[in-house]
């Protein structure tokens, strides 16, 4: 049994909107183990983004518990939460948030420098991370000198740098063409196979297919989850 990196236990999140309460998540429980990539699918407004924000400690549940590597996020003070977010959790969001005045390498090194690493050591890690996503040669380019797919990979390199145990990706393939989208998934997948846990929010079935498991949200509730793998014979014998 692998280590559980992310655990949701009966998580609810309610927002106040005018005079009414909106139940964004309603009693959601699931786990993601180290070495596992879980896709989250569901229509807009089903709670996918809320789920990811809670997993990353960017939001707090109204009820229930969110644990990362066995630590209940509710028990952390602001500084502890900030440290966990900075050191243990990698975020890849559709909105890349690259700093336009910094090179690719400087963008990637930023979280490590903020974590107290020397500029030199942070830069060395950044180059390694960029090389891992196939951008070692473009480390000195500024974001506006890179294509959309390359910028996306810089954002992924930044999410992967350091000892990130939990990777959270919200539509990381965005508007990328399918080849580049697959390259992005391939990097994410490799990181998970190296021992991280990943959560991938996507509306693209083809990209969700890269996950070990897909969970489905509807109206804030977890309604279903894909079952265990079949052998190729079971899979293709049934379709042929």
């Amino acid at each position: 049994m692998s280590e559980v990196v992310l655990r949701f236990t009966d998580v609810c999140r309610t927002y106040r909107s005018g005079d009414t309460d909106v139940q964004a998540l309603d009693g959601v429980s699931f786990e993601v183990e180290a070495g596992e990539l879980v896709a989250v699918m569901g229509p807009s407004g089903s709670g996918k983004s809320t789920l990811l924000a809670l997993a990353g400690g960017l939001d707090t549940p109204t009820r229930g518990a969110v644990e990362v590597s066995g630590v209940d996020l509710d028990g952390l003070d602001a500084a502890g939460l900030a440290r966990l977010r900075r050191d243990r959790i990698g975020y890849v969001f559709q909105d890349l948030n690259l700093v336009t005045d910094l090179t690719a390498a400087e963008n990637v090194a930023l979280p490590r420098e903020l974590a107290g690493l020397s500029a030199r050591a942070a830069r060395r890690e950044a180059i390694t991370a960029l090389t891992r996503v196939g951008l070692g040669d473009l480390a000195q380019r500024f974001p506006d000198q890179l294509s959309g797919g390359q910028q996306q990979r810089v954002a992924i390199a930044r999410a992967l740098i350091g000892e990130r145990r939990l990777l959270l990706a919200d539509e990381p393939t965005g508007a990328l063409d399918s080849q580049t989208g697959e390259a992005v998934l391939s990097v994410l997948r490799a990181q998970v196979e190296a021992g991280a846990a990943g959560v991938l929010v996507t509306h693209e079935p083809r990209y969700a297919g890269w996950a070990d498991r897909t969970i489905f949200l509807r109206d804030g509730r977890l309604v279903d989850s894909t079952g265990p793998r079949r052998t190729p014979e079971q899979l293709l014998g049934g379709r042929a």
Binding site: A24, G45, P205, T214, S225
Partner: protein
């Protein structure tokens, strides 16, 4: 239709040289990743027909005494025509899934959303398993097998999109009151995926 696919698939295997019967089975298996269980009887019957129709001919035997066949000029012309002719898939409207969901939508008391979700989960499960195989095929550089898997992946992708469409269409129609009203229109908008009011966008909250 299926018989034709096997016939042409086997003929295509002769394009790169003469072969004996069992060799065809192995190669057919390799190129289709074993998705098409071709039995020996079917193989030899098809081969006899190709021979009868003058598309292949016996050109001798190998050391083990097996008859070796080669494609004829007529066979090459027919094969080129097959490659140039689009497939008209006559089996398409007979899909059990299309019939099941059509019936579910038209039958009172059936929870169409549940039927759709059960299928969506199963389709995503297949998508994951196929993607696993596809990643492996990609590493092995096995082109025919890779493209066949892509075919299945793209088919599943369109199936899942169609399931979303079915669900949205049925919900819209079921929430519609007799004579379309503004209220009915709003209900339809909600069911087809308007974001919940007040839900924060995580992309704004990074760092």
């Amino acid at each position: 239709m299926q018989r034709n696919a096997v016939r042409w698939g086997l003929l295509a295997l002769f394009a790169d040289g003469p072969k004996y019967g069992y060799q065809l089975r192995t190669e057919f298996d390799a190129r289709t990743g074993g998705t098409w269980a071709l039995n020996v009887g079917q193989l030899y019957t098809t081969l006899e027909r190709l021979d009868r129709d003058g598309l292949v001919e016996a050109v001798g035997t190998n050391d083990e005494g097996r008859t070796i066949y080669a494609i004829t000029d007529r066979g090459r012309t027919a094969l080129a025509e097959w490659f140039a002719t689009p497939v008209t898939d006559t089996e398409r409207p007979r899909s059990e899934l299309a019939i099941k969901l059509g019936m579910a939508a038209a039958t009172a008391g059936v929870d169409v959303a549940a039927v759709v979700q059960a299928q969506r989960t199963e389709s995503m499960r297949q998508m994951r398993d196929l993607t696993d195989l596809r990643r492996r095929a990609d590493q092995q550089d096995d082109l025919a097998w890779l493209l066949l898997l892509d075919h299945l992946v793209f088919g599943l992708e369109s199936e899942i999109r169609w399931l979303d469409h079915v669900e949205a269409t049925v919900l819209r129609r079921r929430t519609r009151r007799p004579g379309p009203t503004p209220a009915g229109t709003r209900a339809a908008g909600q069911t087809s995926g308007t974001p919940a009011a007040g839900e924060p966008d995580a992309t704004e909250a990074v760092r």
